[in-house]
C-alpha cells in the first residue's frame, strides 16, 4: 500500500503571541514544529505500513526550511519526502494550497491512501484535507480516530462524532484526516535519524508540477486575510457550585442583585 502523508510546518503554539499594536503574529524567536495533528497522521501511516507493507511518502508545501519537518518525518518512519516549494506559492489560501498539493501528488504518482491531520494549528481551517480530496476526485472521511483493518482496498475505520463514533468502510483510494485519539506518535528512532540525515529530499517547483500560474499563491487564492486580531475578552464568568437547590438559590440572589 502506498500512502501519502501531508505535513505542514507551523509555529509552536505555546510560543505564538499576537502583537497587540500591529495585530500581526509575532513569530520572533518562535520555534517551528510539525503540525501536531500531522504527527498523528504520519504515525497512522507508518503503522499501516508496518502491518500491511508498502511505503510512506511525506509531502509538504512550504518554504525551504519546511525541509526540517520532512526530515523529522523520515526519522519517525517515512520512506520518501517531497518538498513543494516556490516563491510563486506564497500567500496561498486553502483553495490554492489544495490545487498545488493535488498537482504535486499527481506528479509523485500512484497512491492508495492519503492521510492528513484534521487541521493545522496555525490556520485552524480543517479545509485542506477535504479540499485536496475534492481536487483529486477521491472520497474522503474526516476525524478518523481508529483504523481497524485494511484488506482488498477496503479500509475499516472509526470516525469521531460528538456523541460517539461511526464505523465506516472506505473504498481506496481515499483521503482521511485524523484526530489525536488515533494513536500515540512515536519519537524518532536512531536508524530513522541516521536515514533522515542522509536522505535527499525531492524538491518540486511550480514548473516541476506543471502548475497553472493563475491557480497558485496569491493569484489562485479566493480568500484574503484582511486583518488578524485578538477577540474581545468575554465577560467574567462565575461558576456556581453546590447542590442544584443551592445553585438555584445563588442564581436568584445574583439576579435580584442586578435588579
Amino acid at each position: 500500500m502506498n500512502i501519502i502523508v501531508c505535513v505542514k510546518q507551523v509555529p509552536d503554539a505555546k510560543d505564538v503571541r499576537l502583537d497587540p499594536k500591529t495585530n500581526t503574529l509575532s513569530r520572533e524567536g518562535v520555534e517551528s514544529i510539525m503540525n501536531p495533528y500531522d504527527r498523528h497522521a504520519l504515525e497512522a501511516a507508518v503503522q499501516l505500513k508496518e502491518n500491511y507493507g508498502g511505503t510512506v511518502t511525506v509531502v509538504s508545501m512550504g518554504p525551504p526550511q519546511a525541509e526540517e519537518v520532512l526530515r523529522e518525518a523520515v526519522s519517525c518512519g517515512a520512506d520518501e519526502a517531497v518538498l513543494v516549494s516556490d516563491r510563486a506559492f506564497a500567500g496561498a489560501d486553502t483553495w490554492a494550497t489544495t490545487y498545488t498539493l493535488m498537482k504535486a501528488i499527481k506528479k509523485i504518482g500512484t497512491f492508495d491512501l492519503i492521510i492528513c491531520g484534521k487541521q493545522a494549528i496555525d490556520g485552524d481551517t480543517a479545509q485542506v484535507g477535504p479540499g485536496l480530496a475534492h481536487r483529486l476526485n477521491i472520497p474522503f472521511v474526516t476525524c478518523i480516530r481508529n483504523i481497524t483493518n485494511c484488506e482488498d482496498s477496503l479500509l475499516k475505520a472509526e470516525r469521531l462524532m460528538d456523541d460517539g463514533y461511526d464505523v465506516l468502510e472506505i473504498q481506496l483510494p481515499a483521503l482521511l484526516t485524523v484526530v489525536k485519539d488515533i494513536n500515540e506518535p512515536r519519537v524518532p528512532s536512531l536508524k530513522g535519524k541516521m536515514k533522515a540525515k542522509k536522505i535527499s529530499i525531492t524538491s518540486m517547483s511550480a514548473e516541476d508540477i506543471g502548475a497553472n500560474p493563475e491557480q497558485i499563491g496569491l493569484n489562485g487564492s479566493t480568500t484574503q486575510v484582511v486583518r488578524v486580531f485578538s477577540p474581545e475578552p468575554r465577560g467574567e464568568k462565575t461558576m456556581l457550585t453546590g447542590s442544584v437547590a443551592e445553585q438555584v438559590e445563588q442564581l436568584i440572589e445574583k439576579l435580584e442583585a442586578i435588579q
Binding site: 512515536r186 519519537v187 524518532p188 528512532s189 536512531l190 536508524k191 530513522g192 535519524k193 541516521m194 540525515k197
Partner: protein, 382 residues
Amino acid sequence: MDYFLTEEQQMIVEVAQQITDEKIIPQRAELDEKEEFATEILKDIAKADLFGLYIPEEYGGYGGGCFEVVLALEQFGRGCVAVATSFAASALGAYPILLSGSKEMKQKYLPDVASGSMKAAFALTEANAGSDASGIQTTAVLDGDEWVLNGTKQWITNAGEAQIYSIVAITDKSKGARGASMFVVEDTDPGFSYGPKEKKMGIRASATRELIFKDCRIPKDRLIGRQGMGFITVMKTLDLSRPGIAILGVGLGQAALDESVTYAKQRVQFGKPIISFQAIQHMLADMAIQVEASRALVYAAAKHIAAHQKDMSKASSMCKVFATDMAMKVTTDAVQVLAGYGYMREYPVEKMMRDAKILQIYEGTNQIQRNVVGQELNKEYT
C-alpha cells in the same frame, strides 16, 4: 560542558532525550506510586532502536559500546531510575552471551535482544551470596544432554518480565572459584518459576523477584562459554556494565539539580527568592560541581573500558563509587533545598532521593567497589 560527541553520539542523546521528556517524565510518578512495570515505555525505547546500542551489527544491533550505552542511560536516569534500571538490567543479562557465548548462542538470542522484543536479566545473587559470590548454592548437574538446575536466586531485576536469564550456578563445588558456570534459562523452561514481586523503597517501577529452579532441565548448549568460567564471565560483565549504573547517578543528580535551581529561583522567603541566600547558592554550586565531575569521570571510564577490554576493573569501580555516592548526596540536598515541599510526593525530588539509594548497593556495593580499587592499587605499586 561540551564533551565533543560525534554526530552519531549526539543523535543517540537526542533520541534518548526525547523519549525521556515525552514518555518517561510524564509517567514516572504514577508508575512509582502504582509500582507498575513500564512495559509501554520499554516498547517505545525498542522502537527507537536503543536496545541494540551495544550489540554488534551482525546481530542486528547498532554496534556501539560502553560509551554509547552510557549516553542513553544518562537521559533515562534523568527521567526515572526505575525505568532506566529495567533497560540496563536487560543489557546486563545479555552481556554474558555477548562476552562468552558461542556464535550459535549469539545468533539465537542477540537479534531479539537488539530489537527489544526479548528482554534479558542477570542472576547472581542468592540469600547467602550477596557481596560474597562464593556463597552460591544453586547447582547445575549434567544429565545426558541436559543440565538440571536446582536453587533460588534472589532480588533479580526484570524477573518475571524478561524472556531470558543469564544465571550463575555451581557445576563443581570442589573447584572453588573455577567451579561456577553460567547458563541461559528461558522463561518457558520446565521447573523454572518466579517468587512474588518485592516491595521496595525506591525504583518501584522496576520488577524484582526470585528465580526458583526445581529440577529445571535445560539443553546442554545453554552453557555460556566453557564450564568453570562462570565467575570470569561475571567479573567481565559487571566491569562492562558498572559505568551504566554510574551514569544513572549522573542523570539522576542532574535531574535533582535542575529541580533545585528552578525551585530556588521561584521560592520567596524573607522577601527574596531563596537562591539569593548564600547557604542555598553554595549548596546548588556544590551539587553542580559534583554532577559535572561525575559525568567527566564516567565518560572517561566508559571510553577507557571500550578501548581496553582487559583492564577495566579499576576504572569501572572508581566511576561507580564516585557517581553513585554523588547521586545520594545531591538528591538528599535537593530535598533540603525544597524542604517541606521536597518531602511531599507531589514534587519529584523525594522519589529521586529514594531511587538514589539503590545505586550504592546493586551491581556490587560501594564498599566492594572500594575494595576493588584498593586491590588494584596494591597490585600496581609493587
